[in-house]
């Protein structure tokens, strides 16, 4: 036994745990999502699970909810070993889960959704009246009595849907209720109601597993906490036993995985910023975002996953309809109404999307075609592609990025994940972008390719590009960026620069803890 597993020994609670996970591991391809994870939850208590992006929390609850099967380890319910082959198995065992991505059926009514797993029957058919009573009761229990049971889910705003989701989980009369970021879409009034509901459920003897990044919620609700890091459960403790700062230490404390290229000393220039955004807002996802991005700079976008970083990149790239605010390029105001405007010569913007399979590449098409797509205009005259110029340009990129491929004419699908990602980046390098937006480009690629990518980014910046780089990996932000903008709830919460970019600072600002200096306003 190593010291690390020693630290994971559960606190001395007197009662027997209702549900226990022992030494659970899960591997996705080459990535270990969960290693030897332990968790013990008790009836009548709220157990908070903490950890940064990719710490293994999602995998943990997917295993508990029967969505994925663990590779190794045991699960015990009432001290009996259990295995779940599907979500229905877990539900039958009394485990209900409220997922971050909603599990509601958009075209069905609220009542249909609440009763979907086990609708009341009469003569073999669904008893709509009984179903309606059941739905009304569940909605009332969730503190959402004002939602009409006959409304279609697709017509409800996100916060209402989240309440329906909670009612749905309660209607199954679970013994264990898992809430994964269940409050992230809720309004303040709903959150207060939900606190009341959760406390009542606790007093009714349910075991609750609560995953949230909002430290004040955890302080308000949790009885016990477990911290996850790199797929391991590193500490379990009674709520209140550790300070915020200690918790952040537990969450980060890992050795740096990669080597990062040196940051050059930047000379201050008086040129207007390459890109400047003024008060950008969109829907209810982006709020009043202003920042500047200079030539030669690598600026990171930090924060927990899903705080509007993706939307910000899409808004800049002209994908989102109804964006308000202004954008200027080299000091001149521009309107970017679509990606084709964004890639125009005078703007020169490129976006490396997060989902390379659907948004970045045409997988069945050849390496050459994929690389040449964005540069079609530069490589053609009067609408005819100059094949030899195209081949030369493509070969140059393949060499420069060291893309490992079996020739230029094999389908993109035949390349490894890392090389596919290089292909997406290479596609945009063909047009020599002046502004490069990257959406979590290293997710799911190997360490070696990551390394090459970091060097490439620095090289491009040296050559005068301005780079805005969203990453869910804190290491990367610390290692790669000249400045980092930390986003919380669709707004830039803090800006960190130079030596102030530390793991601790990034994680605590992402958690919205008030330990760092506020952004001057």
């Amino acid at each position: 036994m190593t010291a690390r597993t020693g630290a994971a020994t559960p606190p001395p609670f007197s009662s027997m745990p209702l549900f226990e996970m022992q030494g659970v591991s899960k591997r996705y391809g080459g990535v270990l999502a969960l290693t030897d994870a332990n968790l013990a939850i008790h009836a009548g208590r709220i157990h908070a699970v903490l950890g940064e992006n990719g710490a293994g929390k999602s995998t943990l609850i997917k295993i508990m909810a029967g969505v994925v099967a663990p590779d190794d380890g045991h699960m015990l319910l009432d001290a009996d070993s259990v295995t779940f082959n599907s979500p229905s198995d877990a539900q039958a065992a009394g485990i209900s889960c409220i997922f971050q991505e909603l599990s509601l059926i958009p075209d069905l009514s609220v009542a249909d959704n609440i009763a979907i797993s086990d609708p009341p029957l009469r003569f073999g058919l669904i008893d709509r009246r009984a179903q309606r009573r059941l739905a009304e009761e569940a909605l009332a229990r969730a503190g959402a009595g004002n939602i009409h049971p006959s409304a279609l889910v697709k017509d409800l705003p996100l916060s209402r849907r989240q309440m329906v989701e909670i009612a749905k989980a309660l209607a199954r009369k679970p013994r264990i209720l898992i809430l994964d970021e269940a409050t992230s879409a809720l309004t303040a009034t709903d959150v207060t109601k939900i606190y009341g509901v959760l406390k009542r459920l606790r007093s009714e003897g349910l075991a609750l597993v609560y995953i949230s990044h909002r430290m004040h919620e955890i302080a308000e609700l949790a009885d016990e906490c477990t911290v996850f890091r790199n797929g391991r459960s590193v500490a379990s403790y009674v709520a209140g036993a550790k300070s915020d700062s200690e918790i952040v230490e537990l969450m980060i404390g890992r050795e740096l995985a990669g080597e990062f290229p040196k940051r050059p000393v930047r000379t201050t220039s008086h040129a207007p910023p390459r890109l400047e955004a003024f008060h950008l807002s969109w829907d209810d996802r982006l709020h009043d975002i202003s920042f500047a991005l200079h030539a030669g700079e690598v600026v990171g976008l930090g924060g927990l996953d899903g705080q509007g970083q993706r939307e910000l990149l899409l808004a800049l790239f002209g994908v989102l309809r109804g964006t308000t605010g202004k954008v200027s390029i080299d000091g001149t105001a521009v309107t970017i109404a679509s990606p084709s405007v964004a890639k125009r010569k005078d703007i020169g913007m490129a976006l490396i999307p997060e989902d390379r399979k659907s948004e970045g590449l045409m997988l069945p098409m050849s390496v050459r075609d994929n690389l040449a797509f964005a540069a079609q205009d530069e490589l053609s005259r009067w609408g005819i592609v100059d094949r030899s110029a195209e081949r030369k340009a493509v070969e140059r990129i393949v060499q420069r990025l060291a893309i490992r491929t079996d020739g230029l004419y094999v389908p993109a699908a035949s390349l490894s994940g890392g090389n596919q990602q290089k292909l997406v980046i290479g596609k945009w390098l063909m047009v020599s972008p002046r502004i490069l937006l990257l959406n979590d480009p290293t997710r799911g690629i190997d360490v070696g390719t990551k390394q090459e990518l970091y060097e490439l980014l620095r090289e491009l910046a040296q050559a005068g590009a301005a780079i805005l780089f969203y990453s869910t990996d804190v290491d990367e932000l610390v290692g790669c960026c000249d400045r980092v903008l930390v986003m919380v709830d669709g707004a830039i919460r803090r800006e960190l620069a130079g030596p102030a970019i530390t793991e601790h600072a990034l994680v605590s600002s992402a958690l919205n803890l008030g330990t760092e200096k506020e952004l001057p306003t």
Partner: protein, 327 residues
């Protein structure tokens, strides 16, 4: 309770719209028909409309799962050819013949289901391929048009009933009450809607996805064979006509769209599809009473279909993230 009515309208808007459009067209047709609405006019119109209506019902089941069944027309043709061989003779043997035809239809649908569920092939490819096979079987059964059918049964179902009402409408009504209504209110029926609306959410909610798809495709085959039987009753013979099979398949999709069933799955009803089918048929009749050349018929049907699809796409104007347009 006014809230309930509003939500009911919201949920059934496609069906209501199809119903209203059909009634308007049909009234226009009757008002301009030289003979007005008499029993014979109604009987002929109904017999023509009901075949497409049943095929459209068949199509609805699969479209609700967000799939598509391009074999419905061929299953209908196969059922027609088989019925022209075995639905004949004593009442007993006729009854067995009918059951056998229905069983063959259901098996055709079940084969589609198995390939889609376990082979994980796209419904469109699967049903093109199986459709060709079913047509091949029909051709083997009846290389040249011919055969016969129990005339008593045929006349009863295609004739008039209870003082001049078309009997075929009662058949349609029976299918709605005995097949569609129970389906709509069953757990498996709801699962079909859930799968079509969001398969991931359905899986997460523990909905029986495979059973739902199996039921949808099998019911589709079953109803297609009912349509095939009805074709036999109208024509008193069987014919392995590729043109008929293809046309009915395509028209069934048109009828489903006109009837407010979403091709993305998860919303709409077979009742809407029935009115969609009747509407599609009425377009042809309308052109006839207004003395428009029959050559124009496809063009008008196309224009009406286009208009219906455009109405259905209005919601796209509200999308704010352009990536969702391509999702």
């Amino acid at each position: 309770m006014s809230g309930d009515v509003r939500y009911w309208l919201r949920e059934n808007i496609g069906t209501i719209f199809a119903f209203a459009a059909f009634v308007a067209m049909f009234l226009l047709y009757v008002a301009n028909h030289s003979a007005g609405l008499n029993a014979n006019v109604a009987q002929t119109a109904a017999n023509k409309g009901v075949i497409l209506a049943i095929v459209a019902m068949a199509q609805t089941f699969v479209v609700l799962t967000s799939g598509i069944d391009l074999s419905v027309g061929m299953v209908m043709v196969l059922a027609n050819c088989l019925a022209s061989q075995i639905v004949i003779g004593t009442p007993m043997s006729t009854a067995f013949g009918v059951l056998a035809v229905l069983a063959v239809g259901a098996v055709c649908g079940a084969i589609n289901a198995m390939i889609v569920i376990f082979g994980r092939l796209q419904p469109i490819v699967t049903t093109i391929a199986t459709g060709a096979i079913y047509y091949g079987a029909a051709l083997a059964l009846r290389p040249v048009p011919g055969g016969d059918v129990n005339a008593t049964l045929a006349d009863a179902l295609t004739g008039q009933f209870a003082g001049g009402l078309p009997a075929s409408l009662f058949l349609l009504l029976a299918l709605v009450t005995l097949v569609w209504w129970p389906f709509r209110h069953s757990v498996i029926g709801r699962a079909v809607y859930a799968v079509g609306s969001s398969e991931v959410s359905a899986y997460m909610s523990g909905v029986p996805i495979r059973r739902a798809k199996f039921a949808a495709y099998t019911l589709s085959g079953l109803l297609a064979s009912v349509a095939g039987l009805f074709v036999t009753f109208v024509t008193y013979s069987g014919e392995a006509s590729a043109a008929n099979g293809g046309t009915y398949t395509l028209y069934s999709i048109a009828a489903v769209v006109l009837g407010g069933v979403s091709l993305f799955g998860g919303s709409g009803s077979a009742i809407g599809a029935i009115f969609g089918a009747l509407m599609f048929r009425t377009i042809g009749d309308l052109l006839f009473v207004f003395d428009v050349e029959p050559l124009w018929q496809p063009l008008f049907q196309g224009a009406v279909l286009m208009a219906a699809v455009c109405l259905g796409s209005l919601r796209l104007l509200r999308i704010r993230n352009r990536l969702e347009l391509y999702g």
